[in-house]
């Protein structure tokens, strides 16, 4: 098996752990695991890691009624379960509990105090009173639950907004770190070929990344896309894919590229027109080109 194949299988393993593989990809991975114990072990560890990922989200208490709904599945009433000591068998139906034989002489209480029928009548009155009270309590509890639910939904919405804001801040910080990195170089790109009026500018740091923005890019047919390349120095440079550009209606496009570790010194930046989805190495016509200044290259 080639190194590339092995790397591809390991990528599949990660994707599998996140549960996003297609049936064919999964079959490919399963087959490979049968012959590769290391791969199988890694899949298992990645599964456990991703499985645990679900447990690290912000914790929110479920509404109290959910417990009752869940327990109803097993045919138990929530009150029974809530009052039961762990491990005790108190889930028995009420009817089966009154069979006696628990050490307390049946009827002893009755002979001491009230005639049986009177005790039963008193119990009935008490029970219906309690039932009414319980009903009222349940009503107000439902109302409270509804208010808590709405409040929780609001908290979730606010949390989302905060998450989005934090994400935007991180993107801005990434841009900032490029602009102010000690090794940052400015690269101006000029249009050519089918885009003579296009212009672009990039700030690039080998350590902090590449922030790129282009203007006046002509619209492309649906099956074509603009792709940015970092062209390394050297006799036969192999361009590094820095991502796809998606111009808006005015022809403006920007992107941020996270420089790979040990990226070679760059000689130029270029944008080409490629088939939709992008390609691993440039094949199409060049529309933007700019040389990287060498004087202060780090």
């Amino acid at each position: 098996m080639s190194v590339a194949d092995r790397e591809q299988l390991r990528e599949l393993a990660s994707l599998h752990a996140l549960g996003v593989l297609s049936a064919e990809e999964r079959a490919e991975l399963t087959q490979a695991m049968a012959a590769d114990a290391d791969l199988a072990a890694e899949v298992r560890q990645l599964e456990d890691t991703a499985g645990a990922l679900g447990g690290v989200v912000a914790q929110v208490d479920p509404p109290a009624r959910l417990r009752a709904r869940v327990l109803a599945v097993a045919g138990i009433e929530a009150e029974d379960a809530a009052n039961a000591a762990p491990g005790s068998a108190s889930v028995t139906a009420i009817g089966s509990r009154s069979r006696g034989g628990d050490g307390v002489a049946p009827g002893r209480g009755a002979s001491h105090a009230l005639p049986g029928w009177l005790a039963a009548a008193a119990a009935l009155v008490l029970a219906s009173g309690l039932g009414l009270w319980a009903l009222q309590l349940r009503g107000s509890l439902e109302a409270m639950n509804a208010r808590v639910d709405r409040a929780e939904a609001e908290v979730v919405r606010i949390q989302r907004t905060v998450d989005e804001a934090q994400q935007q801040t991180r993107v801005l910080q990434a841009h900032n770190s490029v602009l102010f990195a000690p090794d940052t170089l400015r690269v101006d790109l000029a249009g050519e070929g089918s885009a003579p009026t296009s212009k672009a500018r990039a700030f690039m740091s080998r350590h902090s990344g590449l922030a790129f923005a282009a203007d006046q890019l002509p619209a492309l047919p649906a099956d074509k896309v603009y792709q940015l390349w970092v062209v390394p120095q050297g006799d036969k440079p192999v361009p590094i894919n820095a991502g796809l550009l998606a111009p808006d209606a005015s022809g403006h496009a920007s992107l941020f590229f996270d420089m790979p570790a040990n990226v070679p010194l760059a000689a130029a930046l270029a944008v080409t027109v490629e088939p939709a989805g992008g390609v691993p190495a440039p094949t199409g016509a060049r529309v933007l080109l700019g040389a990287v200044p060498t004087a202060t290259a780090s």
């Binding site: 994707l15 990645l46 447990g55 690290v56 929110v60 869940v70 327990l71 599945v73 068998a89 989302r160």
Partner: protein, 202 residues
């Protein structure tokens, strides 16, 4: 009873009484003990609800998911396979795949591989393999820290896949980043999280 003994012996090196308690609850559920379902819910109702809510952002739908998940756990307790991992991981994967299917249905996207038996646990019998890693509080904390400190470019694709249910192809479209780059970033990010999760254990 031998089964339980075997489970406890297997659990011992992990020093994680939590999962042993879960296994005991699942074993009792398989025998029809409703009280054990209450125990399992009291231990993991919150974490499963939180995950469903994180994915669906809709409390009522999250409640339905949790009810469905525990209902499935109740029905399938007898078939729970210890070698597939910790009980809580099983509950979380069921919660995730059901929640994701709802999200995808909402957006009129084709369903993901909904059956967690398919989506999770490729290995039919891992009894001879290394011990599955249980979700201890310490591991969860390390994992959270690893996720929080992941570079955004690696974290985003992982979150989109795990919490939004996007496939790698869809993530690539959404972020306008080539598929190969997305796969690499997911792999790098997940490996870092795996190392943090396993921590000093290996």
């Amino acid at each position: 009873m031998m089964w339980l003994l075997w489970a406890v012996v297997r659990m011992a090196p992990q020093k994680d009484p939590g999962d042993a308690g879960d296994l005991e609850a699942v074993r009792r559920m398989a025998e029809g003990d409703g009280q054990a379902l209450a125990t399992l819910y009291d231990r993991h109702g919150r974490v499963t609800y939180s995950l469903a809510l994180r994915i669906l952002a809709e409390p009522l739908e999250a409640e339905e998911i949790v009810q469905d998940v525990f209902s499935q756990a109740w029905r399938q307790a007898a078939r729970f396979d210890r070698s597939r991992g910790a009980v809580v991981a099983w509950l979380l994967m069921m919660t995730r795949s059901r929640s994701i299917d709802r999200v995808r249905a909402r957006r009129a996207m084709p369903a993901s591989s909904g059956d967690p038996d398919v989506a999770f646990g490729l290995i039919p019998d891992a009894a001879d393999g290394p011990e599955r890693m249980a979700l201890t509080t310490e591991r969860a904390a390390r994992l959270k820290e690893a996720l929080d400190t992941l570079p955004l470019l690696q974290r985003l694709p992982i979150e989109l896949a795990f919490f939004e249910g996007l496939t790698h192809v869809e993530v690539s479209d959404r972020l306008e980043v080539p598929l190969g780059t997305i796969k690499t970033r997911i792999r790098l990010g997940l490996m870092k999280m795996k190392d943090a999760f396993l921590g000093g254990a290996s």
